[in-house]
Amino acid sequence: MAFTETRAGTQKTSWLAKNKLNIAPWLFLAPALLYFAIYVVVPIFESIWLSFYEWNGLYRADGTSTASWVGFENYVKLWDDPKFWISLKNNVLWLVLYMLAVPAGLFIALFLNQKTPGMRLYKSLFFFPFVISQVVVGLIFGWFYNPDFGVVGTIWKALYCEETVNILGNATFKCSRAAPDILSSPEFATYGIIAAGLWPQIAYCMILYLTGLNNVAADQIEAGRLDGAKGWKMLWYVVLPQLRPATFIAVVVTVIGALRSFDMIAIMTQGGPFGSTNVLAYYMFETAISEYGERYGYGSAIATVLFLIMLVYISYFLWRMYQDEKGAH
């Protein structure tokens, strides 16, 4: 460096030429990095900072913020907030049950991993649910569960209700038992939403495994067959070890998907009934910018907790990547 600096004055072009491999990456990186920093990196720290304030989102007439410093008070409140614990519990439930998508995806992938005519089309049709918006999935399942005019309601009417006329002579149903109102039941609503969420997630895992299965070494399978392995044993000892990269990614995207669950809850229950289907992601949104929210500092504290949970997975993922990179060099 010292050497180039002494010559920089006299031979500018040569300095540039000498350092072009040092400067070029920064020029290539600058736009993405700057942009990413403004919209992603900096806001993370701002949110954490804001979680130590109480703020209703308003600025005074002169443009100063109405926020006031409260230290760790928001976190103390979180600790005593049953809705926070319900949300956290539901997040755990999502994490655990969403994991079913991984074996289910593997199962479907194994089922479809054949070379019969039309298989390509079948595979892509199976993948279909992943492509459509979660909003649409939420609407479909919300309608399915509806006890009055949805699938559940219709089946229930067929089983337990008879059609009669009411006092005014209009057609109505008399039921021996009330239809189950899944999405309004504090016990079952979350399971109902997770079941809906599993549908696209299974499709996602399936496609990861199908691709993984393409790369399974045929000779090892043959070797396994010669050793007399078949069925479960073959799957467990020969195939699954080779599918480890696919499993890893399937687990990562499923964890992320579970922790990001927002759309379905917003569409199907808005966190209800009485907050029993809340997860941290939705509770944060509700606290900060819904009609009855406007508590930005408290919302940021919830977001920070969610971020820290996610950070565990992110760190693990990065650590794995780092191991791979070290191996590659």
């Binding site: 005074r60 209009n170 808005q270 009934p273």
Partner: protein, 411 residues
């Protein structure tokens, strides 16, 4: 970014966002109702105001109600109009506290509003000042299927016992007494408010929403016990937690349910569902504690002047204009609501006349639970009410939890 002054950015945003630069003589009014009736009423009033004040150039921004609710939080600082519509009670509190609204106490004194708009004065006040001028409100009460009542020979109930007694023949005839859709929570608060107003009166409603009495107070417990009685002896439609208020009209329109505790805006919904004025009627929520002065729910809509308004002089002219009896008469008959000015006249409509009779004789007007209580309290309270409606055995658990929230919210 949040914590330092942002006037530079705000100025930049304002200059970028404003397509029409306001000059002296311009009056910018932000309004929040795109529904046909209210929109027409507002536009008519604007036209009249213009013809009376030809020198004022009125610029109108009319926005969807939900969008307005979030937009106002930004435009009051960044790009303030001269007048904006908003709501009294706790809904205006954050803006008043942040110094974003201009007090109009003197305007009230100058124009005699203290008498003419007396009914709403308390709810327009905060910190000893009055903050806006209301132009409209509407009644709440019980809408019912008069054809079903006739068939079962039931009279409009006047007392709590009448109401409970009326439910028995309905249930016998296979009619669920009440419909409701609590998916979006606030409908349950309407029922709570009424039972509370009739059990304990206006003061207790105000003290509760102001955080002065606890939810486990024996008086509130009494309210909840009455509500439990209503659920047990009358009952609400099944699956109400998965229905919106519009969904809940379906069983009412079909004759499967006979009564609906609702606001007057719901009449349009009944008409759209095919009901005629011969089939539906209205009665005031029945008396529970005998002799208690009667208070009603009457959410009001009002106009406010932002602190950052540029043309406050003409803004005050507009506020004085919308309070005038003739203006309120015309405005409210067009939009199908009630004028607040006691000298104004009410439109020719069965429900408006009932509403006027209800509200003009009331001793107190509540704004509705979710406008009188702070947002965080209202949310928790309404969730609690929904939980209670789904399982009345959770009553004390709900109330105890609400005490905790209350303690935290009001500090």
């Amino acid at each position: 970014m949040f914590l330092k002054t942002k006037s530079a950015l705000a100025a930049l945003a304002a200059s970028a966002a404003m397509t029409t630069t306001a000059f002296a003589g311009d009056l910018v009014i932000n309004f929040d109702d795109l529904n046909p009736g209210p929109k027409q009423a507002f536009e008519d009033a604007i036209a009249q105001f213009k013809s009376e004040n030809p020198d004022i150039n009125v610029i109108v921004n009319n926005n969807d109600r939900e969008a307005h609710k979030s937009a106002i939080r930004n435009f009051l600082t960044a790009d303030a109009p001269d007048v904006t519509s908003w709501y009294p009670g706790n809904r205006m509190a954050p803006f008043v506290d942040a110094g974003l609204f201009e007090p109009v106490t003197d305007l009230w004194a100058e124009n005699g509003f203290n008498d003419d708009l007396a009914a709403i004065k308390a709810t327009m006040s905060r910190d000893g000042e009055i903050w806006g001028v209301p132009y409209s409100y509407y009644q709440w009460g019980v809408y019912y299927r008069s054809d079903i009542f006739d068939l079962l020979k039931i009279e409009e109930p006047k007392t709590w016992d009448d109401l409970l007694a009326a439910c028995a023949p309905m249930k016998e005839a296979g009619v669920t007494p009440f419909t409701i859709g609590t998916k979006f929570l606030w409908t349950a608060a309407g029922v709570f408010d009424y039972i509370n107003l009739r059990t304990n009166g206006y003061e207790v409603h105000n003290d509760l929403t102001a955080g002065k009495i606890k939810y486990t107070d024996p008086r509130i417990v009494k309210t909840m016990e009455n509500w439990k009685t209503l659920i047990d002896e009358c009952g609400f439609v099944d699956n109400h937690a998965s229905m919106s208020w519009q969904d809940a009209i379906a069983p009412f329109a079909n004759g499967d349910a006979a009564m609906y505790v609702m606001g007057n805006f719901s009449v349009d919904g009944y008409k759209n569902a095919g009901l005629t004025y011969e089939q539906i009627d209205f009665f005031q929520f029945p008396e529970i504690t005998p002799g208690l002065p009667r208070a009603e729910e009457a959410p009001a809509d009002a106009f406010f002047i932002p602190t950052n308004a540029k043309n406050k002089e003409d803004a005050r002219k507009w506020l004085a204009f919308v309070a005038r009896p003739d203006v309120q008469t015309k405005w409210n008959s067009t939009m199908g609501q009630l004028p607040i000015n006691s000298k104004a006249e009410v439109g020719d409509d069965k429900f408006l006349k009932e509403g006027f009779a209800t509200l003009s004789t009331a001793t107190g007007l509540a704004q509705f639970y979710d406008r009188d209580a702070p947002a965080a309290m209202a949310k928790a309270g309404m969730e609690g009410f929904q939980k209670f409606m789904l399982d009345t055995s959770t009553m004390m658990e709900v109330l105890t939890r609400l005490d905790e929230v209350q303690e935290e919210v009001y500090k």
